[in-house]
Amino acid sequence: MAKPKISSDWLAGCAGCHMSLLDIDERIIQIAELADIRATPITDLKEPDESGVDVGILEGGVNNSANEEVAHRMRSRCGILVALGDCAVFGGVPAMRNFFTLEETLRRAYVETESTDSGGMIPSDPELAKPTEVRALQDVVPVDIFVPGCPPSPEVIYYVLSELAQGRRPDLKGDLLHWH
């Protein structure tokens, strides 16, 4: 049997879940032996193979049209989609902004922030992604496996990866189940 292909990407997150993934340290070699690690934000290849991967992993919530595109692309190219971390699973810390209107948050970020000298403007270049409410990944594309945690601990990530690499579905419970 060919090694399962694994690809990952990140959306509206802080990269902390990928940092936690790197914190599995030398165990990454075991994962690489069992699986074919393809495109990730921390490898050279940036987009999952058009021919598809077995497992797609996404960190972060969905907070603009660019995230939506990445999420849909990953979903369409992967077999099993994993939501990694509290932002992908629930919306996480970025979702705090949903308690305000989009207009309020943009004004706060670009106009009213203390570090803005004068004449701050909300960017409006048509090339920019269009901001939206922050959504959990499951609200944009169907998710198969949820790995909560802020970030999930290296132990949890290693468990999930090694199960997936060996063609099994991880079952998070007991000590492995933590939302943050």
Binding site: D86, A95, Q138, F146, V147, C150, L172, H180
Partner: protein
Amino acid sequence: MVNLTIDGKTIEVNDGTTVLRAAQSAGIEIPTLCDHPELTPYGGCRLCLVEVEGARTLQPSCTLPVSEKMVVKTDTDRIKEARKFVLTLLFSERNHFCPFCQVSGGDCELQNAAYDEGMTHWPLSPGFNTFGVDASGPYFILDNNRCILCRRCVRACGELVGNFTWGFEERGAKSYLVADYGVPIGESSCVSCGTCVQVCPTGALIDRQSAYRGKDFQVDTIPTVCIGCSIGCSTTVGIRDNNIVRIEGRWAEGVSGGILCKVGRFEPVDDNRERITSPMMRVNGELKPVSLDEAVKSIATVIKPLAGKNGHGVAAIASTRLPVETLHMFKQIFADGMKSDMVTSLEEGWSTTNTAIFAEETGKVFEGKVDSLDMADCVVVAAADLANHHQVLGFMVKRILPTGTKLIIIDPESNDFDPFAEVKIKATKGTFADVFAAIKASSKNQSASELSAKCGVSEDVITSAGKILSESEHPVFIYSRGLTAKEGQPALAGLVDLAESYSGSTILCTKGKANSAAASQLRLDKPFDVGKHQAIFVALGDEDPSQRLIQRIEGAHFLAVTAAYKSKLTATADVVIPVEMWAEVEGHFLNIDGRIQMVSKAKNLPEGVAGNNETLKAIANELGVSLTDDWKKELTSRSSSMVIS
């Protein structure tokens, strides 16, 4: 008794028991959020649903009474699905994002419940509705966004504390917690007892001082007894890295069953006074750090020659927040060893002397137990300000009023409990004995007109009080030093006489500070008079010295103080020796209803601090005074108004 089967286990419980309690008694766990062992079942969260054979729908076990031959299942797939659905709805309603909540990671019952059900995510995303945050209170913050509407706080405030501050506005998912009729907490009737904070299952009620300072599993929890006043409520003190993180009540234990007031829960954590960390001696007009040995020797050098010099020897005064062991040593050194005629406590017997003398003279043990309030159908409060002092006793009175208990207030001053009173007797000062005699006469259907007139109260008022008392089966009379110190022995005699005329009555006295009663038993209760005493020894403990004390001591030839904190008194002393603050004290305290309670040491002393007992032992050693540790015998050798055990 009722027999039922839960998960195949046959269980026998009392009639009226709920299915939840029956399951718990058999060691079967059913998850709940709105249930609390100290509160009336409410049935609000629906997490405790169970399957009952023959019932069409799942039933909430917390409100369902058991019935004969009932067959209950608590762990079927149908139930598990229902629990997940209940939790899903709860999470979807408000802001339950865990990464920015202080109870996440162990102290959140909602999160723990989700973990127990193996929930890796929320099937329904939240609606992002916003609710108010109220940070106007001094000790805790209300964040309605974290609230799950379990109403534990509402029930605790009413059922346990009798304050009824909390309530809900709006309906259904829009409901939110409000104080009184929607005023900010800081302007409401809230008394900051914090019972609601202790029962809150989520991060909706946040203790300002302990938030983010350690979860339960990171904090050492030491069971002890509060020494905020003479009641002596059972507490736990949470310690992390030798810092006090929080204080909580111990449910179903001790005098008050877990409720505390702000004096016990919040104020001790909010203490920014400066500690004394080394013994000090005045050298060339300034206090300089010295060794304990030097400090002790300098005290002994001054006071040893003063032994037996009545009136111009050594005067000694001790805090009533010190354990009996310390007070006993203190007494042995200064009264027995130095033969001083001026050995007393900072309370000077204000709260206890008249009671103690009356008990000695009459041989009557006339005071009862605090738990008599649970049965009380009438409470007479005689010159006691239970809204501001000994507050937990006030809570225990207020919480029984909704069940029909009648409150009679006898107080010449306005009393914060007046609005709750069935009868208010505003007698002329100095006429309490007549008030009691008048009530007694009226309840025995005798004329009270003459006596009423004497105390400036209309006869109708006296008659209505007498009527309530004559119809009462378990009246409880509560008095304080407002009665004994201000109205004297005859007033107390009148109260006891009145109470004794009703079988089933109980008398309680609020007393003073934590070891007020022990100081009285050790006869450390005379008025403090510096007079011509050559040297003064103050065992201040962790108290703040009163202005009056400082003024009276001013100009003394020699002043030695043992104290935990720097104060105006220690600044004027010739020798200062550092001792424990409350959380470092270990020893026994005699409470309001005669319980000898052990206070445990919750945290370690700062380096360089020897402590009360070690210091007193060193002083005794220098003076050649031998000490015994038979404090228990001493405590019970004087006849008392209460049963001491």
